[in-house]
Structures are given as structure tokens and as C-alpha cells.
Symmetry: C5
Subunit: 361 residues, 5 copies
Amino acid sequence: VSATRQRMFGAHRADIGARPGTLRLPPDSPAPRIRLVQYDSSGVQSEEVADLSRLRDRTRAPGSTTWIDVRGLGDESVLRALGEVFALHPLALEDAVNIPQRAKSALYAEHQLLVARTPLVANGSLSLPQVCLILGPDYLITFQERAFGFFDAVRERIQAGIGPIREQGPSYLAYALLDVLVDRFYPVLQDLDETLGEVEERLVEGNAPASLLGKIHSARRQLVNLRRVIRPQCDMLRGLIQLPSPFISDEVRTFLRDVDDHAVQIADRVDSARELASEVAELHLSQLSHRTNEVMKVLTLMASIFIPLSFIAGVYGMNFDYMPELHSPIGYFVALGIMATVALGLLAFFWRRGWLGSPED
Amino acid sequence: VSATRQRMFGAHRADIGARPGTLRLPPDSPAPRIRLVQYDSSGVQSEEVADLSRLRDRTRAPGSTTWIDVRGLGDESVLRALGEVFALHPLALEDAVNIPQRAKSALYAEHQLLVARTPLVANGSLSLPQVCLILGPDYLITFQERAFGFFDAVRERIQAGIGPIREQGPSYLAYALLDVLVDRFYPVLQDLDETLGEVEERLVEGNAPASLLGKIHSARRQLVNLRRVIRPQCDMLRGLIQLPSPFISDEVRTFLRDVDDHAVQIADRVDSARELASEVAELHLSQLSHRTNEVMKVLTLMASIFIPLSFIAGVYGMNFDYMPELHSPIGYFVALGIMATVALGLLAFFWRRGWLGSPED
Amino acid sequence: VSATRQRMFGAHRADIGARPGTLRLPPDSPAPRIRLVQYDSSGVQSEEVADLSRLRDRTRAPGSTTWIDVRGLGDESVLRALGEVFALHPLALEDAVNIPQRAKSALYAEHQLLVARTPLVANGSLSLPQVCLILGPDYLITFQERAFGFFDAVRERIQAGIGPIREQGPSYLAYALLDVLVDRFYPVLQDLDETLGEVEERLVEGNAPASLLGKIHSARRQLVNLRRVIRPQCDMLRGLIQLPSPFISDEVRTFLRDVDDHAVQIADRVDSARELASEVAELHLSQLSHRTNEVMKVLTLMASIFIPLSFIAGVYGMNFDYMPELHSPIGYFVALGIMATVALGLLAFFWRRGWLGSPED
Amino acid sequence: VSATRQRMFGAHRADIGARPGTLRLPPDSPAPRIRLVQYDSSGVQSEEVADLSRLRDRTRAPGSTTWIDVRGLGDESVLRALGEVFALHPLALEDAVNIPQRAKSALYAEHQLLVARTPLVANGSLSLPQVCLILGPDYLITFQERAFGFFDAVRERIQAGIGPIREQGPSYLAYALLDVLVDRFYPVLQDLDETLGEVEERLVEGNAPASLLGKIHSARRQLVNLRRVIRPQCDMLRGLIQLPSPFISDEVRTFLRDVDDHAVQIADRVDSARELASEVAELHLSQLSHRTNEVMKVLTLMASIFIPLSFIAGVYGMNFDYMPELHSPIGYFVALGIMATVALGLLAFFWRRGWLGSPED
Amino acid sequence: VSATRQRMFGAHRADIGARPGTLRLPPDSPAPRIRLVQYDSSGVQSEEVADLSRLRDRTRAPGSTTWIDVRGLGDESVLRALGEVFALHPLALEDAVNIPQRAKSALYAEHQLLVARTPLVANGSLSLPQVCLILGPDYLITFQERAFGFFDAVRERIQAGIGPIREQGPSYLAYALLDVLVDRFYPVLQDLDETLGEVEERLVEGNAPASLLGKIHSARRQLVNLRRVIRPQCDMLRGLIQLPSPFISDEVRTFLRDVDDHAVQIADRVDSARELASEVAELHLSQLSHRTNEVMKVLTLMASIFIPLSFIAGVYGMNFDYMPELHSPIGYFVALGIMATVALGLLAFFWRRGWLGSPED
């Protein structure tokens, strides 16, 4: 579990007191692979760039949009070279490659930094990898820790020219990518909803195995993490919509409003799911108490009835020489009668207390 | 339960990365049936429209209001055609037909989109279907997932010309519909109040069957969902009142203030009911603990008194050849006396601890 | 309990979809009785008005204040007639007579509507009836569901001319009435405080009968309801102080600030009382757990010591022909010795665990 | 406890509907004793004033500051006379002597009213008496319910001329007094911290006597009350700093900022202590559950092992004429062997479940 | 634990009513050691200053930055002398050396006071010592209670001239130091995360020794304290960024925004960790309940089956002269048969209740 935790956000901060702008690269990130996609309304060029000087020399056709997709953060020299090519602010570059960050938007003179997170379910465990976007006047650079493939659908839309994506500039591309990152929360929430629903159903049926505890807890844990991630994302999106920025057109703002609506909806659902999970946990606890109560009743009933009877039997099992009852011909039957009376009296007592009712009721 | 969950909000998001404006229609929604209601102070025309070209050709009499009520979202072509007739913004149309949305108001150049939810109790289970309104200068379009019949009373008011509804434009109609959607929360809350009240009454009477757990939990679950829906609705209504919009007259704003008052009151009651439900759940748990305590006391009393007595009887049931007490003529009675003494001593001990008091007290 | 709930706020909303301005009268409210009080600094006239035309014809002496006190809302025609006499806005009249409302202030062109609630303890159960005030330039109309008598003290002050009340206009009268309504919360809170204090005292003394559960829960329930009522009242009063209104003079604002201080103080006390009640409930639960623990210890002690001893006795009660120990002359005493040893060993074991300490400690 | 409650805030509101400005004096407050302290940078005069006309006649030297310290509120005529001498606003006088008030600042034309509370530990119980300050252009009047002696240190500073207090006007004096009132919270918090720390220590050592319950609860109760008092005090101080007032100089504002910092720090510490106390209460509950679990394990172990063994012994203690095993020469030893086998089997079963591990672990 | 508490924040407030500006020095702080670091882009001078007159006489080269690092607060005369040299405001000096303070920023005419805290783990226990910075136009004074060595890395960066630190003025230095203080929270949080992760893992494995209680509680306690410290720090940093100050350049504001992002991220993580810790504590409690339930089931099973059987054996162990069954040749076997029937019946009963299922399930 501890290992899962670390994977969930990454944890490679170090070097307290290091000078600002230091690149603290994620230790297990592969070497960067860089894809260059250049498009305008008339066409698309897409290629993997091995040599960064290739980027430096590219001619930027006016009106065209350049998308640099960096997958892997394992080589500082490549990242610094990229920073030089696009004249990135040192703090922007630091934030873009240092994992983990809080979702945020930071406006610099030459470009705007956006940091977001999105859920990723791999091998049944949830992580929340970070994606950074640097939005310039005619380019967009995206940084991913590994080649996650989040953006494949958007790249295909660009290739195929579906919708207005090729007519619009880099801020529309940023919108499209943010939309993907936010929409990825939906299926995760759906799964959590279903897990909680199942647990609930089993609990309401009165079925509370110990393994449910782990399931409930795991859901609550994921919800705590989702909430930690989605709330700052809402703030970031609201900031994008409301604060002036030279890199985002008014038209794209309308679209971002839509992404923000989704993010807020997700945050609401996370909160509701958390409340529900907490109530399911309480339900579980109540059910356990109820069961213990039922078990106790059975024990008390059996023990309270038979222990006194056994005592009576024990008395007449004593070996004293002089015990007058033993020699009476009806002694045995009187003793049995007393036992029956005691048993019936106790049953009546428990009946009056309602302990003999159906335990399901 | 899981099935109920899905029905509660619908859950058919898909196609992450699809281009914006994509219509993701609810999978089990019937084909749209469209009713056209056109009215002014002098009269009303109402008809089911099968052919959309009929809408295109209608003459909009100046001063008259057109209400298009779309029930069912199962056919994309019809919806797109409608969007063309009224020149709806792609995002507005997407939001209007994509289920689920968060309650919101979005202002476009040509019209204003309103999304609301209202409770619906069918077959004893609560769902919260969504209704979208698109408010234009002289028309109002409403989208429902199925023909719910929420608006029948308003249509009858228009037909019968009760009140000022025919004198006012489409924003007053929107107000009347929102008023209906909000007022529908009251009976649901009333039912929840009564359920909680019943549970409470039974608990205070000391009657805590396991089935109450399910009832409490179901109420809390519904309250979580109601809250998730009503809070954004309050925000949406407050926005309608405060933010400028060319489609809403000042007079209608006064009326919307009234709807907002109701929505806030409902939100308050939902919150109070949630607090109450949480306290009822705690009361239940306390009662279970109290009962377990009572059961334990009985068991402890019976076992603690008779186990030592049985032991004494057991000692004199041993078959040793040489046990001097056994041959004493008063041995048996002395043994009985010792047992009585032990029993009384233990009773006195428990009495001092207050364990013999009436368990009801 | 469910009945109490309904009485607490009233619950007669109906007719979803009815046109706005519909008067939904409380079903069990008596017919209105109307008292007219007219006063200025020189004198007072007070009379019960049976015929509303009497109100229409009254001459409003300049500088005099008219107070119409409507007790009972059971006759729509009377209320509508009153609305006509004073030219009340339909929504204002609707809000004034429709029960229940949230505390609020609504400013209309001709008058201002104020809705407040105040606690009423009758037959040992708490309700929170609503009072509406409509404040005009030279009149104040008050609506009560029944003749509650909340305002008797103020009427007597007017009659007797105590203080500046006759020199001031209707807004000062509204202030005096709101002051009464808010001050009525104090004794209710006092009673709740005392109830909680008593429960606390008994719990700290270690005295936790099941009946305390009901007391704690009833206090928490009342506090939930008080909070639901007092918070909007604070908002309403703050609005009166801060928002401009032609009907409230600056001097009266100073006095309203005082009422608001009281309302905020009450809200604070309700919150503190709720926290305290929640802690008392937790204390109760802890005490129950502690007691169960104590009971268990006694049972475990008794059973763990005597069950092994009984077993030993049982062994030598067996009837095998060949059991060598039985024939030893010291067999019996050795057996007793073994039993004593086992018992002492177990006592030592429990002693080491600290289970033999005084259970009070 | 209930008595403590009433002392904690006082509770002598009455006369609902009385006219504003009514003095509702605390019922058990002694008759006012009034001390007059007059000082400027050159000297100090201090005297007990028996005759209020003495105040009326005093000559106010220009530049000198007059401090009237009223201890005891038991005589309305004295208080009204004082109000006349200084021309106090009726509401200000009412608020100054009516107990209890919420901490607040109210600005009148001629003076400013400040209400604060401070903790007082007497006979081991905490109360939070109220102190009111009326700050005029050249005087400060302080009202205390009894002669508490909170201000002795400040009076001595004035007498001895320590620091700039004699050079500054009445607002600096007000600052000095508020500083004292706020600083008095520190030792109370310190004590609560230590109490909680002790309880914690004992709990972590596994030592959970029932008496801890009372200690935890008492700490939580005090914290609820401290919070209720300190939060409004922070608001009041912030108001003093931010809102314009003719009676408070900018220099004194800088000092008040310091008092506000302290008050906010205290509020933070109260909140943290409350969270800690709540966690300590949970820890206690968990420990109780853990102990019950341990006790149960021992009981189950002992009972589950010996009850079957006793049964076997019981079987061979039966007196049937024909029981073949009884006559076998090895019968006894076989029976013992079977018992040993059963016992070992059960031990193995419990061992596998981990119930035989050290209970401390 | 109580001792730890006091160390966590220090607790040497005293002298209520003392005049403002009084230096209340931490009682166990060593005598101040003062290091003077003077640097500009061309070079660095660093020395320990024993004689304060040395500070007075230093020539401040234009454009150079002076950093006075005071470690130890044990000598009032030295601190006062320092205050004179730099003309520090009395309240600033008081706040700088009085422990404890809340994180804050206070702007004076000649300088700005910054108070921050940072975690320090020594001997396995967490404390949160305070560091004060006084930022002037060309100097920065730092006050530490002891020589903590937090700033060694920064001093080395100045010595080595790494990064732009020597080109920038004292506000950049303040930024660098604040950055260090904030970054020190990360490893502490990491450790807490790991502790909680471990506890979680053990709980999910069903392993809940009592010692976990202490671990969870200690983590929650530390989180309460971290939260109390980091939230005001965020406020302080936000204030630095947003409020105008002559001592902080716009360029440094950009860097401070980065520190603020980190502080907010830490606060978020503390909150998430607190939620997680609270859920882990609930999980623990649920697991305890579940285990108690399991233990109870075993006890109930064993006792309920064997107690009735023992009773039957007891009956036939009675010594009555006339018990017909005893003399039947098949009596013994019939008795055994009855016992077997009873046992099987009870097993069937428990089987139907599902109590015989695998307890792990």
C-alpha cells in the first residue's frame, strides 16, 4: 500500500535549499521522446524529433500551430535545450518537469504554464499522473512523465481534421487536451460508484464479511486522493476563464467554461461519493454491532437456561450419604419437573424481553 | 442498489477525446416527440409536431410566445435539425441533450441555456431526471429525457388562461416551469421527514430491528443525492437573478427571487434532514450498544452465580474413597447452605453495582 | 414524533404548478381576527375590526401609525380584501400567509415584507411558528397563524406610552416586534442548556440509563431545528441593517443592530449547544463501552476461574472402574489442592493484567 | 455541572418585550464601587468615588485621561447617574451592564462601546466573565460584574509611570486593558493542553480508567466555551483595526494589531486543542474496544477449551448400568487421552487464529 | 507526551499586563551568536560578530546586502542593542524574539517582520521551531531560538555564488530562506504518509495490535500541529505576494508565488493525510468490532453446543435411587444418541445463520 501511495503522486522532492530553477527530475522517468505536430487549416505534419536542433530550425509558418509533446522526463540536457529553444522561464520549466505539482496556472511574459492531473488505472491500482502544458502564442508544449497515450484521440482528430481543431490556434488545442484530462475522471468515478453500490447492496442484505472493510477503505482512500486533485483543478480552470491572458482567446474561454462545468461536476460527485462512502462505513459498523448483539443473545439464551439446569443436576449428582430426596421414588421426576419449570420460567423471561423474536427482524 | 444509482443520474458519458459539440445521447431514451405551443394574450395553439419543417415554416406572430417541448432524446438527427431551426450554439445543444449535467445557466449570444433537475419517485425509488431549457427572445425549448409530465399543470394554465401567464413572454414561462421543478422537491422531503420520524419514534421506544439500518441508510443516501442536486440549483437561480441577461425581464426576476427562496429553503431542509438522519444513525448505534450491555449483564449474572455453585456440586460429586464430608449426616445440608451463601453474596455484589435494576431504566 | 415534526414547521404546501400568488392557507388555521391599533405621540385607539370596510374608511391622521394585527389565516376572502385595502403585492401576500417560509426580507415598491419565526413551547413540545410583517410607510401589518399572544407586551407598552414607541413610526414598531420574537429564543436555549447539563451530570456520575438516549436525541433534534430557523433570521436582520430601504429610518437601524447582535448570539449559543450535545452523545457511547467492558471482565473472571475447576471435579466424578487416584486416602485433598493452585494461578494471571482493580477506577 | 453552566456566562435575561434601554442587572452582582483614575504625563490621581456628583464636578484638565472603573453592577440608580454624567447612549449603557453579551464593538456619536470576555478560574472551575469598555474622547469607563482585579497590573503601570502609558490617551489605555484580557487566555489553554497531554499519555500507556472519560469531556466542554468567546473577540478586534473610529488613533491601531494577532493565535490553539481532544476521545473509545476484545479472547479461550472437556467428563460420570467403557481397565486413561487431544486440538485452532499471541502486542 | 507538547511550540508567555515591547525571552535559549554575511555580486564577507559595536561601524557598501543571522535568544541586552543598531520598531523586536508567534507578516515604516515555522525532527519527536525575519532596505536579520542550521545550504550558495542570489537584494535572500523553511515540510509529510501507509497495510491484512492505536494517534497529533502551522504560513505568503511592500521587488514576488504554491500544496497534503488518518482510525475500530464479533461467534458456538450436552450428561449423573433409564441396557446409547441429535440440531441452526462460514470471509 505504501508503494501505491508513492506512485500515486510521485515523491522525488529533494535538495532542500537548492537554488530555484533546479530541475529535480523524476528518478524512474524514461528519456524524453519528443513528437512535433505542426498544423493549420490546410494540413498537418507530424514527426518524432530526435535532434532538438531540428526544432530550432523549423520555420514557423504564420497561422500554423506547433504542438511539442514531450513524453518522458529522464534527461535534463534535453529539457534544458528545449527550454532554450522556446525561451522558457526557468520557474516554468522547473514546474513543468518537477513532479509533483498542484494543479495551477501561472502566467509568464512569454507563455502560460498549466499543470493538471488525470487518473490512470493500471494493474487495478489508481495513480494520478501529472501533465504540464506550456502555452505560447503559436505553440503548445506538453510534458508527460511517461508516454501515457492520453492525447492519442486528440492527435487523431487533428490528423483527420475532425471539427474546428485545425482552424483554431494553440489555446483551442490546450482546451481539447484539458477536456480529455478532465473527462478521464468520469469512468473512475463510475467504477467507485459501482464498488460502493455493491458494498452497500451486500450490507443491506445483511452480509458483512471482513473483506468489505478493505473495499470500503480503498474506495475512501481513492476518493481522498481524487478530491485533493480535482479541487485545485477547478480553481485553475476558473482562473483560466476569469483572469485575462494574452494566450487564450475569448472563443476558447467559452469552451473552457464547459470543461470547468465538468470539473465542478466531478468535484461534486467526488464529494457525494465521499459522503456516501462514509455512510456505508457507518452502516458497516452498525451492522457489526447488530450482529454482535444477535450472537450475544443466542449465547445468553443458551447459557442462561442450561447453566441453572446443570446446577440442579449437579446437586443430585453429589455423593453425600444422607440426601433424602435421592431415595424418594418420585425424586427423579420431581427434579426433572423443577428443571422444566426453571427452563420455562427463563424462557418466559426472555420472551418478555423480546429476545426470542426472529433475529432477522 | 447499483442499478438504482445509475438510474439516479444517468451514466452514459463516453468517447473521451471526442470533439466538443458531440451529442452523447442517453442510450435508452425514446425518439423525440415534439409539442409546439404558441400563445399570446388572445389565444393558444397547441399541436404535436411530427415534421420539423413545420417548425421552420411557422410564422412567428409578433408578441406571441413559442414553447417547444421535446420529450425523448433518442434521435440525433431530429435534435440537430431542431438546433438548426433555432440556430442553437453547438455547446448549448450538447449540454441540453447530454445527460447528466450539473444545474447551471449559460448565456449565449442568441439564447440562454438553463439546466435543472427535479425529483421523480417511481416504483418506490427516487431518481433525479434532468430538464434543460433554452430561452430565446420569443421562444422556449424544453428537453426531457422521457415524457415525464412535469409540465402538464403549466400547459393547462396556458390553455385555460389562468393568471398572467399568457400576457407574459417566454421568460415568465421559464419561471413557471422552474417553479414546478423546484416545488416537486417538497413532497419528497416530506416523505423523508416522515420516514425519519417513524424510525426515530421506534428507536426512542427502544425498538431497533436490523431492518431500520437499511431504512436509515436509504434516507441518508437519498439526502446526499438531493443535496448534490439542489445546491447547484440555488446557485443557478441566484445567477439568474443577479447576472444581467437580455432574455429575462425585471418583472420575471422578482418572481425568480421567489423560486430561489424556495430552493434555498429546500436546501436548508435537506441539510437539517441530513443532520437529523446522522443523529438518528448515532442513536441507533447507541441503542445497540445499550442493548448489548443489557444482554451481557443478564449473561454475566446467570453465569457468575451458577458456575461457582455447579463447581461446589461437582466437588461433592467426585468419587474419591475418602471424602469425610460425604459421610456426615449434615454434610448435604451444609453444602446446600454454602451454595446459598455464595449465591446471596454474589447477588449482593451485583446489587451494589446496580446491575439488578430494571433494565428499562 | 412524526406528528411533532409536522407541527414544528407546518407542512401544507400543495398544488405544484399552481399559478404564483395562489394563497395556500394553513388547513387548520382559524378564521382571521383583525385588531387595529392606531397611535401617535398624543394617543392610542385600539379595536377589533369585524368589517374590513371599516379599514378602508379609516382616516389616516398624518404622523400616526396604524398596526393591523391579523391572527388566524383561515379565510382567503378576508386576506384578499386586506391585500386590496393596502395594495399589497400578490407575491408579498402569498408569502405572508403561506406557511412555511424561510426567514427573509423582500422589498417591494409600496412596502417591505419581513418573515420571522419564534419558538413556542406548548404541552412540552417545541414548535417554531412563523410571523410575517408587512411594513409600509405609515402602517405595519402582522400575520400570525393563530392568536399566539407574542405581541401583548408591546401592545401594552403602546397603550401605556412607555418609552419612545409612540413617538416613532411603524419601523420602530417592527423593530420592537422583531426584538420580542428574537428574545423568545433565550428561555428555550436556557432549558436546553439545563437539560444537557443534567444529562451530563448524570453521565459523569457514571449513571447512564437508556432513557438518557432519548433525552439527548430530543435535545439534538430541537437544536437542529433552532439552527435551521435562527441562521436565516440573522441574514435577514443583517440585510435590514445594511441594505437601503425607504421604510426603515437610520435611527431604527441602530436599534435593529441590537436585535441582530442578539440573533447572532443565539445562533452562536445554538452552535455551541449542538457541539456540546454531540460530545455528550459521544460521552454516553464511551460510557456504555466502558460498562460493557466492566461487565465482561466480571464474567470472564468468574467463568475462567470456575470452569477449569469444574472440569477437574468432573474428571473425578467419572465412574471408571479403574481410577487409581480415587482410592488414595489423600486423593481428595490432593485434588482440592490442585484446584486451589489452578484458581490462584488464574487469579495471579488476571491480577497481572490489572483486571482485579476497582472497577470504578 | 448545570450550576457551572449558568455561572459560565450568566443567565439573567428576562422581561421579553420590555422597552429597549431597560437595564437588566445581574441578580447577584454587588453594589457598584467606582474608582476614578486621572492621569497625564506629569502625574496620577486615584481615588474611590462614593458620591457621583464628585464625578460631575471634576475638572477635566486638557490632555489628561480619566479612567472610571466600575466594579459591581448591583444598583441601577448609580449606573443611570453615571450614564447621565457621561451622556451615554441608552443602548450603550444597556449593553454595558446587561450580562451576557457577545464580544462586539459599537460606535456611537459620543463614544465607542467594546464588549470582551476573559477566562477566570476560581475553585477549579472556569468561568468567562464579561468586561465592557466605553471609550470616549478623553475618558474610558470599564464595567465589571464584580471586582475581578484583572486590571491591577495596568493600574500599577500607570501609577509607576512604566512605559508610554501616561503619555498616551484613553485609547491606549483601552488597548492595554484588552491586551490583559486576551493574554489571560494563555494560561488556561496551557492547563488544558497539559490535561489533554496527561490523558493522552495514560491512554497510550494502555491505561483507560472510567475517570478519564470525565476529564476528556470536561476539557472538551471548556474548549467549546472558549471557542464561543474567542472567535467573536477576534472579529471585534479586527473591526477595531479596520473600521474608522474617531476614538482610536493610528498609533494605537498598530498596537491593537498585536492584540488581534494574539487573539487569532489563541483561537487557532483552541481549534487545534479541540481537534486533539476529539482524537483523544476516539483513542479512548478504540482502546476500550481493544480491551473488550482482549477480555473476550481470554473468556472464549478458557470456555471453549474446558466446556468440551467437562462434557466428556460428564459423560463418564453418568450412572447407566451398562456403559462398557467404564469397565475397561484402560478406560480412564483413554478418556484422559481424548480430553488432552481435544484440548490440544482447540489450542492449535486458536493458535492458528493468532489468539494466543501476547495480548500487549 | 506533555513535555513533547511544550517543546512543540514553546510556552514561555508570562507577565500578563506587562507593558508592550517587553521581551519575554525563551527560558532555555542559549546566548545569541551573531553571524554577519555581507555580499554583493563581486564578493562575500562572512564572520562571527562578538562585539555589536562592530555592526554599528560597518560601512554599508552601496548595492551590497547584509545578512545578520542571530542564533540563540538568551541575552536581552544583546537583542536590544541589535534593535538599536537597526532602529527596529519595539513591537517588531518583541515579536521577533517572543516565542511562540503565529506565522505573519507585519509591515513597519523601516522594515518588514516575517514570522515562519518549520518542522524539526530530533530524537524521533517533531517540533516546529519558529524563525523570524526582519527585512530592511539593504539588510535581513534572522532570529532563531537555537543554532538550527536550517540556512546552511543557502549560506553555501552565497559563498559559492551559485545562481542569481548574489545579484539580488535582501528580499531575494528572504525568499531563499522561506523556500528552505517551507521545503522542510516535505520529508516530514513523506514520513507521515509512510507511517500511515504501513498502518493501513497491516490493518487491511487484518492485523490490528494495540500498538497501532498509538501510532495512528501520534500521526494525527502531528498532523493537527502541522496544520496549525502551515495554514497561517499560506496566508502570510499570500499577503507577501498581494500586499504592496517597499521591501519586496516584483521579481521576487514571482519567486514567492512559487513558495506559496508549495505551501498550499503542503497544506492540501496535510488535509488529505488528516482525512486518511481519520479513515484509518475508523478502519481500525471497525476491524476491532469485526474481530470481537468473530471471537463471540466461536464462544457462542462452543458454549451453545456443549452446555446442553453437559446438562444431559449431568441428568444421568444424578444419584436418584429410582431412575428407570439407567437400568435399560440401551440407555447409555440412547443418551449418546440424544446428545448427538442435539449437537447436530444446533450445528444446523448455526449453519443456517451462516456462523460456520470461514471467519476470514
